[in-house]
């Protein structure tokens, strides 16, 4: 598939790296020269320097033959513009927008952008796991089905640090499928110990959305 990513920050970089690894054709549009140079140094000539919300850049990127356009800049208004242009002007079938301000999620829906991700690069690593078997969409459906994917770092003084997962007494509809420790992903068992500094990814129903924060931070005071 030909996938155009707009925004070459952390999210764009990791996403591009994973998608390339999976054998997709990837182009990243990034306006900042330093960021673009870093992308080239790391990933090779897969970038285009320019403002991805401008038509010349979209034309040069060959947006009309893109299978997926993913807008992951740090500005919601830019991501909205990119997704809308991709769909309406270039006929791209699937446009996915990152949302930085969670309040904007329903606005994006109302404005015709159904597929949104309001998370960080750690979640994108999770999305990447979905790609070989399914497509990016399934994760969004999951959200629409009333579930949420969350990530958080275990603080230094967290009461959860040094505990086994099973000691946290997580409810049935709350799972931690992934821990990132020193840059490496671990699929934890119930006996896995949480360390301070770990980044954890949790999948939960919306009902228990607040639980992750409570587990990691409560009784801190």
């Amino acid at each position: 598939m030909y996938i155009v990513i707009v925004g070459g920050g952390k999210v764009g970089y990791y996403l591009a790296k994973h998608l390339l690894h999976d054998g997709h054709e990837v182009l990243v549009i990034e306006k900042d020269r330093k960021k673009e140079e870093a992308l080239i140094a790391e990933l090779g000539e897969i970038s285009l320097r320019g403002d991805g919300t401008e038509t010349w850049a979209m034309n040069k990127a060959g947006l009309s033959r893109a299978d997926i356009v993913i807008a992951v800049t740090g500005d919601d208004e830019d991501n909205l513009m990119i997704s809308q242009m991709a769909k309406s002007k270039y006929g791209v079938r699937r446009a996915i927008a990152r949302i930085n301000n969670p309040k904007n999620e329903h606005i994006f829906r109302l404005l015709g952008i159904q597929q949104t991700v309001s998370t960080t690069e750690i979640i994108l690593a999770q999305i990447e796991r979905e790609i070989p078997a399914h497509s990016l969409v399934h994760l969004m459906t999951l959200r629409e089905a009333g579930a949420a994917i969350l990530e958080a770092r275990v603080p230094e003084d967290s009461p959860a640090a040094g505990k086994m997962l099973k000691e946290l007494n997580l409810p049935d509809d709350f799972v931690m499928p992934l821990i990132i420790r020193e840059g490496k992903g671990i699929v934890p068992q119930s006996s896995t110990l949480l360390n301070a500094g770990d980044e954890v990814v949790a999948v939960t129903t919306l009902q228990h959305e607040k639980l992750l924060e409570e587990i990691l931070n409560n009784s801190k005071k």
Binding site: E77, D78, M85, K103, N104, L110, L111
Partner: protein
């Protein structure tokens, strides 16, 4: 008319005063309080501090009762998003967005129901016309 203007730059501030003088009820939004210094001391309207693409800020500015909405920040994408929110989320009857980029303007207008003003095209046309007269 109740008019909301987003962006208190040169256009926003100038327009706010002009509309106020015509006895419209003007509310102007900007995310930077210093921007309100551009307003004429005689401006009688309301100033709201906040981001023009934030629903809560827009509600605070009275968007639910607004007759017209003008997006005049210095960012095309912000203007486009603000205008779409005003039109499609809050059903403001008259929505106008200022967009500098002619191509984006063209594309955006196709989304419908929002009017656009492109100073780039207007200035270029005017300048060509002026040059034409002196040829």
């Amino acid at each position: 008319m109740r008019v909301i203007i987003v962006g208190c730059g040169r256009l926003g501030a100038y327009l706010a005063l002009a509309l106020d003088k015509q006895n419209h009820l003007v509310t102007i939004i900007d995310r930077n309080s210093d921007s309100f210094n551009r307003l004429d001391p005689n401006f009688r309207g309301t100033m709201v501090l906040g981001v023009g693409i934030d629903e809560d800020v827009l509600r605070r500015a009275g968007i639910e009762r607004a007759d017209a909405f003008i997006a005049a920040t210095n960012g095309d994408n912000t203007n486009a998003m603000a205008a779409e929110i005003a039109r499609l989320v809050f059903n403001v009857p008259k929505v106008i967005a200022r967009l500098y980029d002619p191509i984006r303007e063209e594309t955006f207008r196709a989304f419908g129901q929002i009017e656009t003003v492109c100073p780039t095209v207007m200035s270029a046309n005017k300048i060509s016309e002026m040059l034409g007269n002196s040829a």
